[in-house]
């Protein structure tokens, strides 16, 4: 992949990794006696690996000028593989913590292996590691194709990917050694947060520069969503992570806001991390790969518009539904609830637009597991947004909040929607990227689909059951008008569901393992055929030299 870079780019890459190395060494030295020092070493080691990779390929012949007539897909390929690795890692940890809730002694006397530290490893691993890499990789692909323009340079896509994965690595390793801000989905500490800001600005500039070069007068819907994802996540991330470090040589920081303001900021962020990371980004993905794979036009351009702006506007008001009945003022809760209800309409417009697009392609959905992944994803998207709007209604939330019902909702969204759209996308994209006719094994794709379906259904049904039982037990009154169950009673009742969830999760986890194998075998296939298989995607002539 280094061979694709020009000599100048290789030099800059070495310089950048050298700068990173210096930064790591400074951290390692200054942070002695603090967990920050450990992160210094990790940064330095990471920089060495990156630099090593660049130097190894340093003397490869420089790429010809004809590269400018082709799309730049190396970063996308890299992102796909990395996303799959994160999927396996994150889901493995997810299943591990699932078992821990059923058998808490299934651990050893090590701090890093305790539930409270592993759980954010899971959430970060899957959301940011798996989801984020999938989004970045596909966004590079989509923006080039829908703009008929090449990425403006070859280095910044790598800066984004390498920097972003360093962020994920710092996050995940940080929790294990006890570095966390405790803000859900924003746990990494100040220096990792700053790193992400840098990465994100680069990402935004890269995106917007590519769009600026487009040959197509109009910006396609998928890019609206990717842009919303990039822009809004930037705003959310910066505001929610405002904090004052204890010192520049310590990892710990204190958030700028406290109490109720902090809670609102956190869930304004938390909810919209769902909205713009787990939803908008993946809607962008869906809007490209689903019609492409189905070979059908988007059902309605007008619905795309209403859906997009509805989602962008309404979502941002909905965060306070995470704080119903709390010490947050009631007026904010009420805004959160009403906007969440209204939010259902644009959400279903988006889901409906996708499903209607499949009209005329249903036989393909039946026969093609890849397309079926995407169709199912749209269904689960509709389902989980319906569930979400329902749970946002105050009386419903009084039952569901704090319980496993939330966990069920989360995984209906993340397994059913996020993961399935990614898998469907990857199974379409991999043959295009490596220029082979199809995936190595269709049968394995079929297997993956059914494992994912079974896993999701078992997981979600187990959590619906346990969540609702839990919620009801907490508030059941006996005839005399006093509480009927103690907390521990409800805990005991959860046990069978926790086992069921862990089993379902294991099935789901097998999916990406099979998937990665299938992808690697496809790549091998492409090596054997030397990429002579036809590209499903016409390579459109680009204006050279741009």
């Amino acid at each position: 992949m280094i061979s694709g870079l020009t000599l100048g780019e290789r030099q800059t890459a070495v310089c950048l990794s050298l700068a990173l190395l210096v930064l790591g060494v400074i951290f390692a030295g200054a942070g002695q006696g603090d967990p920050l020092g450990v992160h210094g070493f990790i940064i330095a080691a990471y920089a060495v690996v990156v630099m090593g990779a660049v130097i190894t390929g340093y003397y490869a012949p420089a790429p010809g000028a004809d590269r400018l007539t082709q799309y730049y897909d190396d970063p996308t390929k890299f992102g796909i593989i990395v996303a799959m690795l994160w999927a396996i890692f994150g889901m493995f940890v997810g299943d591990w913590v699932a078992w821990l809730l059923a058998y808490p002694d299934m651990t050893f006397d090590a701090a890093w292996a305790s539930f409270g530290r592993l759980r954010p490893v899971h959430t970060t691993g899957v959301i940011f590691g798996f989801g984020g890499n999938a989004l970045i990789a596909t966004s590079y692909h989509v923006v080039q194709r829908t703009s008929r323009a090449r990425l403006p340079d070859q280095l910044s896509p790598w800066v984004v990917l390498i920097g972003y994965n360093l962020f994920c690595l710092l996050a995940v390793s940080g929790y294990l050694i006890g570095i966390t801000q405790s803000k859900e989905y924003a746990e990494p500490e100040w220096y990792a947060d700053i790193l992400l800001v840098i990465v994100w600005v680069t990402y935004f500039l890269l995106y917007i520069r590519t769009l600026a070069r487009r040959q197509e007068p109009h910006i396609y819907v998928a890019n609206w969503y990717y842009m919303a994802f990039i822009l809004v996540v930037a705003v959310l991330h910066i505001v929610n992570n405002l904090a004052v470090p204890v010192s520049l040589t310590e990892a710990k920081s204190y958030s700028l806001f406290a109490g109720v303001q902090d809670a609102m900021t956190q869930w304004w962020y938390g909810h919209n991390a769902v909205a713009f990371f787990l939803t908008a980004g993946f809607l962008g993905m869906m809007y490209y790969y689903l019609p492409k794979r189905a070979g059908r036009p988007i059902y309605s351009y007008r619905m795309s518009i209403v859906g997009f702006w509805g989602i962008t506007f309404f979502y941002m008001w909905a965060g306070s539904h995470h704080l119903h009945y709390t010490a947050l003022p009631l007026w904010v809760q009420n805004l959160g609830m009403t906007f969440s209800v209204m939010l259902l309409v644009p959400s279903w417009i988006a889901a409906g637009n996708a499903l209607m697009t499949l009209n005329g392609a249903w036989t393909r959905v039946r026969d093609d597991a890849t397309l079926r992944f995407m169709a199912m994803a749209a269904v689960f998207y509709g389902l989980s947004t319906f569930e979400g709007s329902f749970m946002a209604i105050r009386p419903v939330n009084s039952l569901s909040h704090y319980t496993d019902w939330t966990i069920g909702h989360v995984h209906a969204g993340t397994l059913g929607w996020v993961s399935m759209i990614v898998f469907g996308t990857f199974y379409s994209l991999v043959p295009w990227m490596w220029k082979v006719e199809r995936m190595y094994s269709r049968k394995l794709v079929e297997w993956h689909f059914w494992l994912a379906m079974a896993g999701t259904l078992i997981y979600v049904f187990a959590m619906w059951n346990s969540g609702i039982i839990q919620g009801l037990m907490w508030r059941t009154y006996n005839d005399g008008g006093t509480l009927a169950y103690s907390f521990v009673d409800s805990l005991v009742a959860m046990h069978p569901y926790y086992i069921a969830r862990a089993v379902g999760g294991f099935l789901f986890f097998l999916g990406p393992v099979i998937g990665l194998y299938n992808i690697l075998m496809t790549i091998r296939l492409s090596r054997e055929t030397a990429g002579t298989g036809i590209a499903e995607m016409p390579v459109v002539a680009l204006k050279a030299g741009e």
């Binding site: 808490p104 090590a110 809004v232 204890v246 958030s255 109720v260 609102m264 518009i305 805004l335 009084s398």
Partner: protein
């Protein structure tokens, strides 16, 4: 009409980006900014006290271990929660919490009013291995807390950082941070008096983990747990403050 305008907007990258920012910014501005301007949002509580350095360190351990992943610290305004956990939480009770730890999942019970509910010895035994005292528990065993000595030399810096974000620690408190942390677990030491002077008579000065000589992470965490819900009595008083 709308479609036509949009049709034009789609041709302008920057315009589109600006539109996204504007449309998405409205919600947050309406919901977050007023929380700083509407006085009623946070009740007043003249008796509100600050976390001692030891309790603050304990809070940081609570954060580090991810207790918030299973425990909420927010009793909602619902009858069953009030009956099970005590008076519903008020905003003022977490006004010095940077960050707040209200939580979003109750795999274990709410801890907003756990302070004083059990003895130190129980807390220690429970953290050491929850299943020793509650056989049905699924909570992890935190044995290392008893082994690890608490890092105290940087507590002054922690208080300074806290002051930067708005917690009214005094110079005196900052200067004595490390000393106070050590003294709080050693009621017989000469410095114990200073802890109560600086943080109030209600401050617990006890050998939380049973051993007054070493300050362990267990000491800090138990000290923190024992203060939860007891920084102010506001929630127990007659509330007539509206929201």
């Amino acid at each position: 009409m709308f479609t036509r305008t949009h049709y034009k907007l789609e041709r302008h990258t920057i315009g589109f980006a600006v539109a996204i920012i504007v449309v998405s910014a409205i919600g947050g501005l309406f919901e977050i900014a007023p929380l700083f301007t509407i006085d009623e949002t946070v009740e007043t509580a003249p008796d509100m006290r600050l976390y001692t350095p030891l309790e603050l360190a304990g809070r940081n351990i609570y954060i580090r271990e991810g207790c918030y992943a299973c425990h909420s610290q927010m009793i909602r305004t619902l009858r069953d929660e009030v009956e099970r956990y005590g008076p519903y939480s008020l905003a003022v009770e977490s006004k010095y919490d940077h960050p707040m730890l209200w939580g979003s999942k109750r795999t274990g019970p709410d801890l907003a009013r756990i302070g004083g509910k059990y003895s130190d010895a129980w807390q220690v035994a429970h953290l050491y291995n929850p299943r020793d005292v509650v056989p049905q528990s699924v909570m992890p065993a935190y044995r290392w807390l008893a082994r690890n000595k608490l890092r105290t030399e940087d507590l002054g810096r922690h208080l300074i950082a806290q002051r930067r974000v708005g917690v009214p620690y005094t110079d005196d408190m900052i200067a004595h941070a490390e000393q106070d942390a050590k003294a709080q677990v050693d009621p017989d030491s000469d410095n114990a008096e200073g802890v109560s002077e600086r943080y109030g008579e209600a401050t617990h000065v006890r050998a939380f983990d049973g051993n007054p000589r070493d300050v362990t992470e267990m000491d800090a965490l138990v000290a923190y747990l024992q203060i939860l819900g007891r920084l102010t009595d506001a929630a127990y008083q007659n509330k007539d403050k509206g929201e």
